[in-house]
């Protein structure tokens, strides 16, 4: 009896995680497709790890880990932005410095048993409240990303052209970084930083191989993110007896990689 109850609870947790991850996966894929410049891809790539000190502080003070992660990401982004105004260093170097700082601080303050979940996630850790907030946050991210999409794309074609058309590129870059921060903060409980980086980078790289225009590119990115999550969860459910709860992030990332490999076949159209 007790065994069945635990099993049922695990099932509920599994579905709550699935719903959260589907929304985060879709919105991460969509936002990731805005990462069209090299500078931006580097930022998106490592940004998720800037959440780690916040995760540590969240655990230490008994707060929600996602809130800690969000705080840490916003602080990290503002620090990078401030340093870029104060120094002549490239954005890439600054992101690198803040990335290393965050990793170091994060590893120091996150207890060892929690570190694994912070990096790789935990399929059973998401509460119903977390899921509801994650779904709302994902929808908000999708809406804002859709609004800034053409402007970001114009900046990618030519920054001067964007600026001369009245598009304040630095403002949009900052909004974009906050969108990534939101996705990472609410996705980190399910799949850790690995899952969130993977969902930001892989779907858009895959979609790029297959798309002829912006519309296809953005939709493919979101759909690939979402489908990778569903495949990841399906695979996990088949092997759940043999897998640790933290395996989910990695499995979803691998599902994304399979899509990427397939997309390479389309590349030389």
């Amino acid at each position: 009896m007790a065994r069945e109850l635990i099993f049922t609870n695990m099932n509920i947790n599994f579905f709550i995680s699935l719903i959260t991850a589907v929304f985060i996966g879709g919105s991460a894929g969509y936002v990731g497709s805005l990462m069209t410049t090299k500078k931006m891809s580097l930022a998106g790539d490592v940004l998720s790890h800037i959440a780690l000190p916040g995760v540590g502080l969240g655990l230490f003070f008994g707060l929600n880990v996602s809130l800690g992660a969000l705080g840490s990401l916003v602080f990290g982004i503002l620090l990078i932005w401030w340093l870029s105004l104060k120094t002549d260093l490239s954005m890439e170097s600054l992101v690198g410095v803040v990335f290393v700082l965050s990793m170091a601080v994060g590893f120091l303050i996150i207890p060892e048993e929690d570190l694994l979940h912070a990096l790789f996630g935990n399929i059973y850790a998401v509460s119903l409240g977390d899921a509801i907030v994650a779904v709302i946050a994902s929808i908000a991210v999708l809406i804002v990303a859709k609004i800034i999409y053409p402007k970001m794309m114009l900046a990618c074609v030519s920054e001067d052209l964007a600026l001369s058309s009245g598009v304040k590129t630095s403002k949009y870059n900052l909004i974009y970084l906050f969108l990534i921060a939101t996705v990472v903060a609410f996705g980190i409980k399910v799949g850790g930083t690995i899952f969130t980086s993977a969902m930001i980078i892989i779907p858009s790289a895959t979609a790029r191989n297959m798309s002829n225009n912006m519309r296809q590119y953005s939709i493919f990115s979101a759909v690939i993110g979402l489908v990778s999550v569903i495949i990841g969860f399906t695979v996990f459910s088949f092997f759940s007896a043999r897998l640790e709860s933290s395996a989910i992030g990695t499995i979803i990332a691998l599902a994304g990689i399979v899509f990427f490999a397939v997309s390479l076949a389309f590349k030389n159209r």
Partner: protein, 248 residues
């Protein structure tokens, strides 16, 4: 541009009606500095409505910087005063979208919120007549076509000033038509002031009402033939430079 003598304008250009004397742009004591260095030093000039100006000067003379300052993209000291009705558009020197950038020509134009028919019209006005062209990826458009696309993009919204950075920079725009013909056509159809940075003296002779020679400071301004007197060129590019004008 204020010039004392406009008798020497080349013959293949129509005289502007005298009533169009209102300034569309006034530049006073314009200085742009990068760190300690003044890239543009105390520049003064005016631009009249409908006037076409060529900005010339050696590499590093501050030509592109001047255009960017006029667009308000760079911090500067001094005054740049556009008239209230000025609608300014910019055509950048060259853009190199990545080959696999997933953006179609149509989507590029839709960023300016215009409809497909208007896109086709404006592309037609720069000589792109292929109906399927708008479906192409930006990265798949040839450099010459891209130059036309950028001009067309700049013309959306009917600007009355077009700032144009090196339209001929190493680009064959294709066919018999030259960039000079295209500019003339645009200028005639739309009564637009074109400010262009160029090295191409034939464009300057055939197209510009006036020339602004820049080498950080204003070296000369006036009609093309004044500016290209041996004296003017020596001032701009240094000793030993001459421009051999073909006499037909």
């Amino acid at each position: 541009m204020d010039f004392q003598d406009d008798q020497n304008l080349t013959e293949n250009k129509e005289e502007k009606p005298q009533e169009q004397q209102e300034n569309i742009l006034e530049v006073r004591n314009l200085t742009v500095s990068f760190g300690e260095e003044n890239v543009i030093d105390n520049l003064n000039f005016n631009l009249k409505k409908g006037e076409n100006v060529a900005i010339m000067g050696p590499n590093g003379a501050g030509k592109t910087v001047l255009l960017k300052a006029l667009l308000g993209l760079l911090p500067y000291s001094g005054g740049i005063k556009w008239s209230k009705d000025a609608k300014i558009s910019y055509v950048p020197q060259k853009i190199l979208p990545e080959k696999n950038l997933p953006l179609s020509v149509k989507e590029f134009f839709e960023m300016k919120s215009i409809k497909q028919e208007q896109i086709k019209e404006v592309l037609f006005s720069v000589g792109i007549t292929d109906d399927n062209f708008i479906k192409k990826r930006m990265g798949a458009v040839s450099p010459g076509q891209l130059q036309r696309v950028l001009i067309a993009w700049g013309l959306v919204g009917n600007p009355n000033v077009l700032l144009f950075d090196e339209p001929t920079a190493g680009i064959d725009i294709g066919g018999e038509e030259t960039i000079f013909n295209l500019l003339n056509k645009i200028e005639k159809e739309r009564n637009i002031s074109i400010v262009l940075v160029t090295h191409d003296m034939s464009v300057v002779y055939g197209f510009a009402d006036s020339v602004l020679c820049l080498n950080k400071k204003l070296i000369c301004h006036g009609s093309p033939s004044e500016a290209f007197s041996a004296d003017g060129l020596r001032k701009l590019y240094g000793e030993g430079v001459n421009f051999y004008k073909h006499e037909h």
